[in-house]
């Protein structure tokens, strides 16, 4: 593989007028659909698939990459300004991004999200180029037990960090995992927990759960509070300077959070099938654990925006890398990319990098280019976009709620998904008001299928001692034990120290 000539060829291809123009058009389309809560760049890629037969891959692949790379950036605008995840990986950004917006700092919040997203998007591409030759040994080291333990660790990290009660966080994860069990089991096709209901055979739809648990309760609370998203008389959030200040803050004040989120997101991204939906929550949980003010997380902490956005921004190029190099989808939407490769006559896998090195680089570079174009559009359009926060909650309630119901329906076109969003919203409202953890439910639900697949395989292959099957497994198991015991041990230590001090005081 001749890296430098291939890289130069990729750059030359990318700046051909026709390629640059289609990347620009795809970026604008992706930003618009990214801002809309019901649809994402992934849907656009699926819509394009029928038109890809026989198309020139050097022209088509950059379009698909631009659609995928920028949609999340548009989604972060929606998440920060309206509290509704524009796309599934934006769910974690909602927690602190929207809380900061409600404090009247919409511009700063938007700047933090966009600045982080752009930096990480570009960093992901820059990391991917030299990482290609190093990929094989990393992925070969992660076998089934390691993948299972990574998922367990992610669930535990998030659950044990639930404010107020770790037990509630773990119960929430249990609810999410149980919801994931409903329907046909992926491995065997056997139906479970359907109770004879035909609708449940296909399981519960992810979009419905995301909308019901996260988005609808937010809107209901807004309507109940009766105030606009940002409080009246709050700071002038609509100014470009506010957005710019937020973006600069990423590197000036939160560079360590950004760096950790980017590295974590990248590692999760290159692991097969995990993708940015997982990466953002792991980064969020890690940021909360490492934060000097963990109680501020969820209340508009900048760290709570930087960490998940850095993971989201970087994950997509790492996902693409795994898909390109190994022919294994780095995330669920990368399955569509695999189909696109076949339609344009390209066989993904190690041979792709050897035979079509320039194309592999062109795809990665088109992601960076699309991200930079989107950055310019977003930063200059931001003062207009933040005006949405001044809108009365009645308008948001009236127009966004039907859109959410529609979003739940269009994914599978099942009428029962309309009822399902009502029921999941009721559950979401209950868990939100009673101090349970919505992110833990979502993570449990999203990872449930993988969790089960890896668990069954690990038990079948290695028996019940699978967690001791390799040095990496042992390290991951140790981390799991530490994250479970850390809180109780710390509480015990504080109690013992308190009683010792009381005894000394008494003496």
């Amino acid at each position: 593989m001749q890296t430098i000539p291939a890289l130069l060829e990729a750059l030359a291809n990318l700046f051909r007028p026709e390629v640059f123009l289609v990347v620009l058009a795809a970026t604008i389309v992706s930003l618009i659909v990214g801002v809309l809560p019901a649809i994402s760049g992934g849907l656009c890629v699926i819509m394009l698939l029928p038109f890809l037969f026989g198309a020139d891959p050097t022209l088509v692949m950059p379009i698909l990459c631009a659609l995928m790379a920028v949609s999340g950036l548009g989604g972060s605008i929606t998440s920060v300004l309206t509290g509704i995840p524009g796309d599934n990986p934006n769910a974690a950004t909602v927690l602190d991004g929207f809380a900061m917006t409600r404090k009247g700092e919409a511009g700063r919040s938007l700047g933090l999200a966009l600045g982080t997203g752009v930096l990480s998007g570009v960093a992901g591409v820059l990391l991917s180029i030299p990482v290609i030759p190093l990929m094989a040994p990393i992925l070969m080291a992660c076998k089934t037990p390691e993948m299972l333990l990574i998922i367990v660790l992610a669930l535990l990290f998030l659950a044990v960090l639930t404010k107020g009660s770790r037990v509630k966080g773990l119960i929430s994860a249990g609810i999410g995992l149980t919801m994931a069990c409903v329907g046909s089991q992926a491995a065997s096709g056997v139906e479970r927990l359907t109770f004879g209901n035909l609708y449940l055979y296909d399981g519960i739809e992810t979009a419905t759960v995301l909308m019901g648990i996260l988005a609808v309760p937010t809107l209901l609370e807004l309507r109940a509070a009766g105030v606009s998203i940002a409080p009246p008389g709050s700071v002038a959030a609509g100014k470009l300077s506010e957005v710019w200040r937020g973006a600069k803050e990423v590197l000036l004040k939160h560079k360590l959070v950004w760096l950790r989120g980017t590295l974590l997101g990248y590692l999760v991204g290159i692991a097969p099938a995990l993708g940015s939906n997982t990466g953002v929550w792991i980064a969020y949980a890690q940021a909360k654990q490492a934060s000097k003010n963990p109680d501020e997380m969820g209340k508009g902490s900048p760290e709570g925006i930087v960490a998940p956005e850095s993971a989201r921004g970087v994950c997509i190029s790492a996902d693409l890398l795994t898909t390109l190099v190994f022919g294994i989808p780095g995330s669920s939407i990368m399955v569509v990319f695999l189909a696109a490769f076949f339609m344009t006559g390209i066989q993904p896998g190690p041979m792709l990098v050897i035979q079509h090195t320039a194309l592999a680089f062109e795809m990665l570079l088109s992601m960076a280019l699309a991200t930079l174009i989107a950055a310019v559009i977003c930063f200059f359009g931001a003062p207009l976009l933040v005006k949405i926060t001044r809108v009365s909650p009645h308008y948001l309630f009236a127009f966004l709620l039907p859109l959410m119901v529609l979003g739940a329906y269009v994914t599978r076109e099942y009428p029962m998904d309309i009822i399902a969003i009502g029921l999941t919203a009721l559950l979401g409202l209950a868990i939100k008001r009673l101090g349970f953890s919505a992110p833990s439910i979502i993570l449990g639900f999203v990872l449930g299928d993988l969790f089960e697949r890896y668990m069954v395989r690990s038990v079948n292959l290695y028996g019940l001692g699978f967690f001791m099957s390799s040095p990496i497994s042992i390290v991951l198991t140790a981390l799991i034990i530490i994250s479970v015991l850390w809180g109780p041990a710390k509480a015990l230590f504080v109690r013992l120290r308190g009683s010792k001090a009381a005894l000394e005081g008494g003496a």
């Binding site: 849907l43 609370e221 109940a224 269009v410 209950a430």
Partner: protein, 159 residues
């Protein structure tokens, strides 16, 4: 008599549901099929029972603030339970209307009625109700070729 907290009620529901999941899973023949639901529901049952006992012991100790009408106010955002209930009723009405009458009828009707009840003029409400439907129709039906759900009433009439 000690008042049972909403958290305790929720935990009781979780316990019942998880017990049903556990018992149902025991009935599956293959170990691979029942392994995950058994482990997850068993684990959640134990944790829920623990949380329930903890809540019953300490749940009634803290008192909550009330507004001028004596309504309970949640700590952070000033949302009253009555306000939340009203908002949920609007949402439930939308879900039911869409399911019965489909998007084409329920969506503009619900938006128009909601805006009218929120103080808008009737003709503004109707215009604002119809506009999103036109946009949704153009995006989903024309561009993405997704057929909007017609509702059980119109589906039944068309048969």
């Amino acid at each position: 008599m000690k008042k049972i907290s909403p958290t305790a009620c929720f935990l009781v529901i979780v316990l019942i549901v998880m017990t049903v999941v556990f018992v149902t899973s025991l009935g599956y023949r293959e170990l691979n099929v029942k392994l995950m639901p058994l482990i997850v529901s068993g684990f959640t049952i134990v944790l829920s029972a623990f949380a329930l006992v903890q809540d019953l012991r300490t749940g009634s100790e803290h008192t909550k603030a009330t507004d001028e009408e004596g309504e309970e106010i949640e700590e952070d955002d000033g949302v009253t339970l009555r306000g939340l209930f009203r908002a949920f009723v609007w949402f439930a009405a939308l879900v039911a209307a869409v399911y019965v009458f489909g998007f084409a009828v329920a969506m503009p009707a619900w938006i128009a009625f909601y805006l009218w009840k929120s103080g808008h003029r009737w003709w503004t409400s109707i215009i604002l109700g119809i506009t999103p439907l036109i946009i949704v129709y153009l995006i989903f039906t024309v561009l993405f070729e997704i057929k909007l759900y017609p509702g059980i009433v119109f589906a039944w009439l068309s048969h």
